[in-house]
Structures are given as structure tokens and as C-alpha cells.
């Protein structure tokens, strides 16, 4: 039986975080209802992409998937289940935000087959949360954790964001420590990228607000990395840490360059050497106008991506894939402990991860 990796995108948020560069719109009930109908239509229209497959992973991301009602999410998942099998071996993740988590929703998720929750904590400091326009407080986060724990899911992942406005080294470490206290199996630690599509970009650029300096972020990351390591987490990708056996299968699938099927506005699909992105605006999508932008992933791109993605993980990249004239450079990397070579694979070290753009842009 062929397997599939399925992504479902829910583009609604209660409000937009200042650093966010994802496609998302402000939640409204009517539009959300239309969206659910539209995405079911899209799944139906593209059913042969998943038909008869065993879902290895399902990931419902956003936006804020938990903003939809349990019933709405169930309808979408039921449509998927018509074509693809989901069982207890399927890694089934839903991304949630603290303000929209309720015990009831968690029961519904569990009933749907969800076995992994990824929650956006970002910071444990209410002031930092507020400055970034996060829609929740730390108390709401702690309550959400209680609700999640009450249904005893296999895997919990907590997101932390380092370098936010108003944050400091101490604050960031405190946040990660609070995350650890919830005993998650998985933690994602993201260094803030001030992307030009985000709300705070011009503010930061014009020095209207201050975010943490890159050097400081690097220092904080080092401390957090070693803290997490001490607590038994494996730093298996630049921004991701997991207890052994709890690595995100869905994401590893991306990093291995495998195929994936995405549904929803802004979702990306990669199959048959083509990557296609649904580029409709949310309101268009809701009216059934679905536009895709396709990219031909040729051998050259495939190789570049293999190098780029491989070097972002501790699984590394096969040395045979890298051009021979990079030998000297690789030797320098190893000599200065930016990388190691193991089983004929080039693997970046912690130090190398922090400078991965520099390294990848030379090697790819």
C-alpha cells in the first residue's frame, strides 16, 4: 500500500502576530464556515492524489487550526478519511494556540485520531506576548496544557520563539524552562527572523522598536541548546528538539525530500517533481476560486534542496552529493568544528547550525 503525508492549512487567526509572515486572515465565523466547505471541495477534487493510501502523517497547521470548532475540523478530517487510511501509527498533529484550546476540543481531536499537539507558547512573559500581539496570556497557556494533558495524547510539542521585542536572555531561558516543566516530548525553538512581510519589519528597520541583537540571540541559543541536551533532548534539526523516537515524522518527511500533499489556502504540495502552491486569497478560495502556482523541481533544484535540507538536520548530507571542488572548504569546516563527517555524511555541529546559511550557500 502506498503511503502519503498530508498537510491541511487553516489560515485563520484571532489577530496577527507582529512577526508573522504566513498567509493568515482575521477569523470570522461566516468565512470559516465557507472555508470548511471549500476545503472539503478541494480535497474531493484532488482525491486521487491520496486515494487508497495509508497516511503516514497528517498535519493540520495554520494560522490557528484550533480556532475552528471541533465539528468543523472533524468534517475536514472525515473527508480525508474517505480516501486515505489513518490509524494509530499515523502521526497526526494539530497546531493549537492557547486561547482557543478547550478540553472539549481536545476530546474531539483525540476521537479524530490526533496523537500529537503542537502548541504555540512562544514566551512565558505576558508583556512579551502582548508586545508581539499574541492573542493569549501565559495563564491561558498553562490552562491549555491542562486541557491537552487531560486527554493523554502520545506526543506534545511546544514552540518557543527567541529574540522577541521586550525579551532578554533571562526571559528566553525562563520561557524554555517553563516549556520543559510541561514535560513535552518535542520542543521547537525558533530564532526570530524579521521577514519583510511581517508587521514589525518597518518598525524594526526604522529603529522604532528593538528586538534582540543577532549576537545575543546566538548566545541564548547556545545556552538553550545545552539546557535541552541535558534534559535528554536530541537537537535533530536547526529549530527542533525531541526525545528519542518523538521526532516529527511529518517534518522529517519534508527534510528527506519526500512527497507531500497539501490542502487549503496557501498549502503546498510536492509530488511528481512538481511543487504547487495554492495562491488564492482566502475569500476567493472560500468562493471556490482555487489557483495554484507550480514549480518544476528539476534534478538541479532537487540536489540543491537535498543539500540545503540535509544540512539542516543531524542526518546530514551524503558527501557524494557535494561537488568535488568543495573538498577544501569541507576540510576547513571540519577543522574549525562547524561540521563533522560520519559514515560518509557531512553533518553540521551546533556551531555550524547557527551559521548554516553561510555554509549551505557555499555547498549547494
Amino acid at each position: 500500500m502506498k503511503t502519503s503525508n498530508i498537510y491541511i492549512h487553516i489560515p485563520f487567526c484571532r489577530q496577527r502576530c507582529t512577526y508573522c509572515n504566513f498567509k493568515s486572515v482575521k477569523f470570522n465565523i461566516a468565512m470559516a464556515a465557507d472555508y470548511v466547505t471549500a476545503i472539503i471541495k478541494e480535497i474531493r477534487a484532488r482525491k486521487n492524489e491520496i486515494n487508497g493510501s495509508m497516511a503516514k502523517t497528517v498535519y493540520i497547521g495554520g494560522g490557528t487550526p484550533s480556532i475552528l470548532s471541533g465539528g468543523q475540523l472533524t468534517r475536514i478530517v472525515n473527508e480525508i478519511k474517505k480516501y486515505a487510511s489513518i490509524d494509530e501509527n499515523t502521526e497526526f498533529t494539530v497546531e493549537v494556540n492557547p486561547e482557543s484550546v478547550t478540553p472539549e476540543k481536545m476530546y474531539v481531536y483525540k476521537a479524530m485520531g490526533v496523537n500529537r499537539i503542537s502548541i504555540g507558547m512562544q514566551s512565558s512573559n505576558n508583556n512579551v506576548l502582548k508586545l508581539s500581539n499574541r492573542p493569549h496570556t501565559n495563564e491561558q497557556f498553562l490552562n491549555a496544557i491542562k486541557a491537552i494533558k487531560s486527554v493523554k495524547l502520545k506526543n506534545l510539542s511546544i514552540d518557543c520563539l527567541i529574540g522577541l521585542q521586550g525579551s532578554s536572555k533571562e526571559e528566553a531561558i525562563k520561557s524554555v524552562k517553563q516549556a520543559l516543566k510541561q514535560k513535552p516530548k518535542h520542543i521547537s525553538v525558533y530564532a526570530l527572523n524579521c521577514d519583510e512581510n511581517c508587521l514589525m519589519y518597518s518598525l524594526v528597520k526604522n529603529n522604532k522598536i528593538k528586538i534582540m541583537e543577532d549576537d545575543e540571540v546566538a548566545k541564548v541559543l547556545e545556552i538553550i541548546n545545552s539546557l535541552l541536551k541535558r534534559k535528554g533532548f536530541i537537537h535533530y534539526e536547526i529549530s527542533n528538539f525531541a526525545k528519542k523516537g518523538f521526532e516529527s515524522q511529518h517534518n522529517i518527511n519534508y527534510w528527506y525530500g519526500e512527497e507531500y500533499i497539501g490542502f487549503g489556502c496557501g498549502a503546498v504540495t510536492y509530488r511528481n517533481n512538481t511543487r504547487s502552491e495554492c495562491i488564492s486569497e482566502v475569500d476567493e478560495y472560500c468562493k471556490g476560486k482555487v489557483k495554484y502556482k507550480e514549480e518544476d523541481v528539476n534534478d538541479k533544484i532537487k540536489l540543491e534542496e537535498k543539500i540545503m535540507l540535509g544540512l539542516r538536520t543531524i542526518y546530514g548530507v551524503d558527501l557524494t552529493l557535494i561537488d568535488d571542488n568543495k573538498k577544501d572548504y569541507i576540510q576547513t569546516l571540519v577543522k574549525h568544528k562547524f561540521a563533522i563527517i560520519k559514515n560518509n555524511k557531512l553533518i553540521l555541529t551546533e556551531k555550524g547550525f547557527n551559521l548554516s546559511n553561510q555554509i549551505i550557500s557555499v555547498l549547494m
Partner: protein, 601 residues
């Protein structure tokens, strides 16, 4: 047909940048119906894009106009002049083709340094001066004050000077009338042997080098066998003509005319500016006096940013040399920059113009190394070495002494600024020779000064310290022995040859520390710490450190991000291609150029 020289006027316009020279030239073309208004692309006479953008004239375009006054048809030849000190010699040659000069002054700005520099050149060439006050319709125009300046600074009566607006076309006829009334007509003898002054030349892909000439005596026509005085080479004339303002062939050029001669001359080097053309069969006895061989004074290494573009650069230089006789170059190599050329220039502006033309017209990305003058190195044992590339300087132990070129510098200024000029010239290692009062309003100071001090920022410094009133002139005047040292720049402990420079021992420390701190600014942080050191003969005299880069990472990279992140990294990879790798240090090409600009800070 006998020619009446009294109906001819040959003149030029001298002005400070922005005072409206090109606009006035356009207006004259329009009022003499040489061109109709609709045909005037703004500022017709500045033909190169670069000139139009910078508002300066590099190439001289003469234009023939006709104007009727009191029932007589006059021929007016307007000869354009470049306006920068780098091109002083070219200006002096084109002034030799004129009998009068319009001194154009911006009514809101008054007389400025450059106006004066060219004005004095005009006066020295015995030209009649006609002051014209421009931009009188600007709110900030101060006509009375400008008139007073004309009387006080130049010493000319200003009561009847034309007050115009070239832009709005006010009182343009006044200018034309005054040109005819005030300027003398050219003199010469139509039956004397041909004597034609080449005041400029350019290269035409079909006709070869074209000589722009002012006919001082005689006649030239198609088929004549002509001879260049300086090079002694001979050619058959294939075309003569005038500019109206486009090239337009005529049957002959005779005394008093300003126009062009084409004679299948392969290279502009054969048509030297300042040389005299005569005929082989009936040569004139004396050339027009004042010819000088144009010599480059500043040398710089030019390298392609991408090493594999060397051949393209070579071809571009070959092509450019066809049209720019003052451009000289020879191949050189640098450990840091690979294969390139050492190129000689008339000055820094010339250097900028050439590099910009190479980049723009030939689509090249270039790295330019620190400009240098030509040094004479006296080696132990008596050998003399001529070097213009600092990295060719031999070991200190092998050097007896070094000589550097000096110039005889004349600074003209109102007496008020004598103190400032003295200070500046002494700072720049000048040796004071003489001060003469030319009249109550003008002094002439004479210094002997190292050429290297002049070519960099002297002109700008002089201008700013004298509020624009001083002007300068200089000529090469041999070599003097100087305590010069080579400052080497070491990146991560390795010497980077392209960044070496020669300077006076007393200035080495200050220069070294400004270079190292500038480099720290422009070289991006790398994956490891990079020390930047300046050294003289192995002894470190300045140091800065570029701290190691600690974070350059994209956080999220999931299914929807892959394409975008890949593109970001591809862009970063492209950026790296523009960096020069030196040892393990990556240097952006701007780093080399940034050092050029140090003096201006």
C-alpha cells in the same frame, strides 16, 4: 569665393558646473535656428549619457550656427569646453580655437572657483571675455551682487552685461548681439599654407579618428595629403565638414572655420590633441604653439569582479582606447584579484569616468585598487625602477631611496584666503616658492608639491577652504627624494597585495588606522574572527578585528517554506560570487573602492 573673416566669431562658454552652460548652448542653437526647439533633446551638446548625468562635459562638440544682425549673416562657431581640472590641457587647446569666451555666471550662486580657473585660462589665451548673468528669474537671483562680483573679482565693467535666463529663454538675443559686437573675428591668411589646430578628436567606427580642428591659415579639402606635425604621419583627407550640430560634410574648410577632418586615421593616438595639421606638399613652417604630450599621472589596478571576465575587460579597454588617447594600460596580476590591468589616468575624475564607462558601456563589474602616482625607486647598487603599483616596491633593504613626482602648482585666489591656502598646501607637503599680486583682488601663489597630494582630494579641499574662490593650475616638474613607505594590509595574517599603498612616512600611521577601520566597516563578518592589520616592512602599526559571525540561519523550513528558503540561499550564493576570496577571507568588491574614498571623509 573670398571669405570675409569679419563675419566669423569663434567662441566658447566657460562656467561652473550647474551654472547653465549646456542650457545656454541649447538656447543659442534654437535662436540661430540651427535646431528647432522640438529637436532639442535636453542639452544637445553633451553627447555622452555620462556627461548628461553628471552635468559635466567630457567630449567637446563644436557647433556652427548662423545669425543675421544688421542685414549681415554671421557664422558663429561655439566650441564647448570641459570643466574640470583633470582636463586643463584639453580646455587650453579648445580655447586656442576661440577668440572670445562667454563667462556664464549663475545670478544666485555668483562666481565660483571653477568659473575662475577656466576664466584665467581664457585670459591667458588672450580671449576677449563677455560676462553673462544667467538664471535671473530665480527667486534667489541677486543681479546687483553678481555685477559687483564681476567688477571686483574679474575687474570687468558690468553695466551692460547681458542678464538672461537660458532656461526660460529671456534675453538670449543680447548674448548673440554681444558675441558679434564684443568678440574679435579670427585672423589668418587663406592663401598661406594650411595650419589647422587639432583641439579634440574622437573615434568613429566607419570614418576612423576624427580631428576637430580650427583652421588658422589656408584651406583643406577632400583628397589633400595632410601631415601631423608631432607624429609626422601622413593621411589622405576623406571628408571635411562642420557640426550643425550633427556632422555635415562640406567641400572644404578654410581659415576661420571650425569643423572636422576625417582621413582614415586608424587610432586617436595619431590625432593628438594640440597637434597641428598641415599639407605634405606645402607645409607651414611653424605649428600652433603650445602642444604638450598628454601624460597619465594616476595609475590604478582595474580587475573584473568575476575573474573569468578578464578577456571582456581587455576587449573593452582596447575599444575605449580607440576613442580616448589619454588612456594607457598594461596587464598585471594580483594575488588577491587575479588578472587585471594597471591603467593610467589624467586624474581622479578621468579615472571615475573611465571605470564608469567600462561598467556601463561594456556591462562589466570592476574592482579598482588605490590610485597611485609613478615612483622612481633607486635600488642599492644604482638601478632605478619605475613603479606605479605599490606591491612592486622592492624590499626596504634593497632600496637606497625613493623619488616621487612633484608639480609646480599655481593657486589663484582673492588675497583673503592666502592663510588658508598656505595651511592647506603645507599640510599637503607643499614647499612655498612665491606669492605675486596680479592685481588688488587676485594673488598667485606658487608651490612645489608632491603630485600624489594633488591628485587625491586637493582640489576639493582647496575649494572648500576658500569658499570656492581659489583655482589652481599645475604642471609636472620632475622628481624629489621623499621618505616614502609602503603600507601593507594583512587580512587574517596574510598580506593582500591589492590593498597596499605608498605614502609619506609621517602620514602612514593615520592613514593605516583609517584604512583598517574602514575595512572593518565594509568587510562583512565571517565565520571566524578576522584580524585586519596594517604593516610597514613587517611591523604592525594598526589593527582592527572583525568579530566572528555568530548567527546566520533561517529558522522555520517546512513544506511550504522550501522554495522560498532555497531562493534566499541561492541569492546568498550569488552574492558570494561577487566577493573576492582572499585566503579564507571573503572581501566584497566595494572594500577595494572604499579605500579610494577615504580622503574625502
Amino acid at each position: 569665393m573670398a571669405k570675409d573673416l569679419s563675419l566669423v566669431r569663434n567662441f566658447c562658454i566657460v562656467a561652473h558646473i550647474d551654472h547653465g552652460k549646456s542650457t545656454l548652448a541649447d538656447r543659442l542653437l534654437e535662436y540661430t535656428h540651427t535646431l528647432e526647439k522640438r529637436d532639442l533633446s535636453t542639452q544637445t551638446l553633451d553627447s555622452m549619457d555620462l556627461e548628461r548625468e553628471r552635468g559635466i562635459t567630457i567630449k567637446l562638440s563644436p557647433v556652427k550656427m548662423e545669425y543675421i544682425l544688421d542685414g549681415k549673416t554671421y557664422t558663429l562657431n561655439l566650441i564647448d569646453t570641459p570643466g574640470h581640472v583633470d582636463f586643463t590641457y584639453e580646455v587650453s587647446r579648445s580655447l586656442k580655437a576661440c577668440d572670445g569666451a562667454i563667462l556664464l555666471i549663475d545670478a544666485s550662486q555668483g562666481i565660483e572657483a571653477q568659473t575662475l580657473a577656466n576664466l584665467y585660462l581664457a585670459i591667458e589665451n588672450d580671449l576677449e571675455i563677455l560676462p553673462v548673468i544667467n538664471k535671473i528669474d530665480l527667486p534667489s537671483a541677486n543681479i546687483e551682487e553678481t555685477k559687483k562680483q564681476i567688477e571686483d573679482i574679474i575687474g570687468l565693467p558690468a553695466d551692460n552685461v547681458p542678464c538672461i535666463s537660458a532656461k526660460s529663454g529671456i534675453n538670449i538675443e543680447d548674448v548673440l548681439n554681444s558675441v558679434i559686437k564684443d568678440f574679435p573675428h579670427p585672423k589668418g591668411n587663406v592663401s598661406a599654407p594650411l595650419k589647422a589646430l587639432i583641439f579634440d578628436s574622437f573615434y568613429d567606427a566607419y570614418k576612423g579618428a576624427i580631428c576637430l580642428v580650427s583652421i588658422k591659415d589656408g584651406i583643406v579639402k577632400v583628397g589633400d595629403k595632410i601631415k601631423m606635425f608631432e607624429t609626422d604621419s601622413t593621411f589622405d583627407v576623406t571628408e571635411v565638414g562642420v557640426f550643425k550640430p550633427n556632422m555635415s560634410a562640406t567641400s572644404e574648410l578654410s581659415v576661420g572655420d571650425v569643423g572636422y577632418i576625417a582621413a582614415s586615421i586608424k587610432n586617436v593616438r595619431e590625432a593628438k590633441v594640440g597637434d597641428t595639421i598641415t599639407t605634405v606638399t606645402n607645409p607651414c613652417l611653424e605649428p600652433v604653439p603650445g602642444y604638450k604630450k598628454v601624460q597619465p599621472v594616476v595609475f590604478s589596478g582595474i580587475y573584473p569582479v568575476e575573474g573569468d571576465k578578464y578577456v571582456d575587460l581587455k576587449e573593452a579597454l582596447e575599444k575605449l582606447q580607440l576613442s580616448d588617447a589619454s588612456l594607457v594600460y598594461q596587464p598585471e596580476t594580483s594575488a588577491a584579484l587575479g588578472f587585471g590591468f594597471r591603467v593610467g589616468f589624467l586624474g581622479l575624475l578621468h579615472m571615475e569616468i573611465i571605470t564608469e564607462r567600462l561598467e556601463r558601456e561594456f556591462n562589466l563589474d570592476l574592482i579598482t585598487t588605490s590610485p597611485s602616482v609613478n615612483y622612481l625607486v633607486h635600488k642599492v647598487g644604482g638601478d632605478i625602477l619605475e613603479i606605479s603599483n605599490p606591491s612592486n616596491l622592492p624590499n626596504l633593504a634593497n632600496i637606497e631611496y625613493i623619488e616621487e613626482p612633484v608639480v609646480n602648482l599655481f593657486v589663484y585666489s582673492p588675497p583673503t584666503y592666502v592663510g588658508e591656502i598656505m595651511n592647506l598646501c603645507i599640510e599637503k607637503r607643499g614647499i612655498y616658492n612665491d606669492l605675486v599680486y596680479l592685481d588688488t583682488n587676485r594673488v598667485k601663489l606658487n608651490f612645489t608639491m608632491p603630485l600624489s597630494e594633488i591628485v587625491f582630494d586637493f582640489f576639493d579641499a582647496l575649494k572648500s577652504r576658500t569658499k570656492g574662490y581659489a583655482s589652481l593650475e599645475y604642471e609636472l616638474n620632475g622628481y624629489i627624494k621623499s621618505p616614502l613607505v609602503r603600507v601593507d594590509i594583512l587580512l587574517n595574517g596574510e598580506q593582500c597585495d591589492a590593498l597596499s599603498l605608498i605614502c609619506h612616512r609621517d602620514k602612514a600611521y593615520q592613514k593605516s588606522s583609517s584604512i583598517t577601520s574602514k575595512l572593518k566597516e565594509v568587510i562583512p563578518r565571517q565565520m571566524f574572527e578576522v584580524p585586519i592589520q596594517a604593516a610597514i616592512g613587517g611591523k604592525i602599526i594598526a589593527r582592527e578585528t572583525i568579530k566572528a559571525l555568530r548567527k546566520d540561519v533561517l529558522a522555520k523550513c517546512y513544506g511550504g517554506d522550501i522554495t522560498r528558503k532555497r531562493k534566499l540561499l541561492e541569492k546568498q550564493k550569488e552574492g558570494k560570487k561577487r566577493m573576492r576570496k582572499f585566503g579564507s577571507v571573503e572581501i566584497p568588491s566595494e572594500a577595494f573602492t572604499s579605500i579610494l574614498k577615504l580622503d574625502n571623509n
